[in-house]
């Protein structure tokens, strides 16, 4: 399988943190579903890199932001930060 995106370990840690929080508070099924939806957005962003929007008041880095649930995903081309 060719990788459509590359995730930073920092972002992976956030993903696991979100999953753990939901699992502990609302159960594993919901945690898995939310995690799966976020990962679907990773794929979506890799296929549509232009959809993220710049936030110049937040960072000088050349990254786009895209929301999923209440999470905001910073992206840099095919890299998820």
């Amino acid at each position: 399988m060719n990788s459509r995106y590359i995730l930073s370990p920092r972002a992976a840690a956030d993903l696991v943190e979100i999953w753990t929080y939901i699992k502990d508070n609302a159960g594993r099924e919901l945690a898995d579903r939310v995690s799966s939806t976020i990962r679907e957005k990773f794929v979506f962003l890799s296929l549509n890199p232009a959809v993220g929007h710049r936030r110049e008041n937040l960072t000088d880095q050349n990254v786009g932001f895209f929301p999923v649930y209440s999470v905001v995903l910073p992206t840099k081309t095919r890299h998820l930060i």
Binding site: S8, L58, T59, I81
Partner: protein, 159 residues
């Protein structure tokens, strides 16, 4: 002059205090062009004295001063993308609103709340972004095809 009449309960004459002319919205959809046109008419708040219409002797008069001060700015937004148009229609339906300004206001409130949270946490977010970029630049990124294994290992650690 349309939209510039004295409120019925307001005292007559040039010593009125404040008059707010409500914003008007025209919501129009065109099946041919798949577009939504929004017209926002903003009227400024008129304060004191002769900045409003006077109704005297059954005749409506508008002071020249009022005419010069009332500025109606129209903002036209044309949406050509049918998919985006459908999303807006869905927002109209789900919010039970028939007023596009209501929908826009609600979306802006949501966006502004997110912005507020992001800005309040700006330093932490910048640190995360910088760390993530450093990791990617150092070749430590996790390709999609290795993510399942990586995540499973981290989850196992957290349990």
């Amino acid at each position: 002059m349309a939209g510039n009449l004295r409120p019925s309960l307001a005292p007559e004459g040039p010593h009125n205090t404040t008059e707010v002319i409500s914003a008007n919205t025209v919501y129009h959809t065109s099946g041919i062009r798949h577009s939504i046109n929004l017209y926002f008419v903003f009227a400024q708040i008129l304060r004191k004295t002769a900045l409003f219409s006077l109704c005297r002797g059954g005749r409506i008069m508008t002071s020249k001063l009022a005419q010069s001060r009332v500025r109606r700015q129209e903002m036209q937004i044309e949406i050509r993308d049918p998919a985006l148009q459908a999303r807006i229609q869905e927002q109209l339906k789900s919010s039970g609103s028939s007023d596009m300004e209501d929908v826009l206001r609600r979306l802006l409130e949501t966006q502004e709340e997110q912005d507020r949270w992001l800005l309040e946490n700006k330093a932490a977010i910048q640190a995360k972004i910088n760390l993530g970029i450093q990791q990617l630049d150092a070749g430590l990124g996790i390709p999609e095809d290795q993510l399942d294994v990586y995540i499973a290992r981290m989850k196992a650690k957290s349990e």
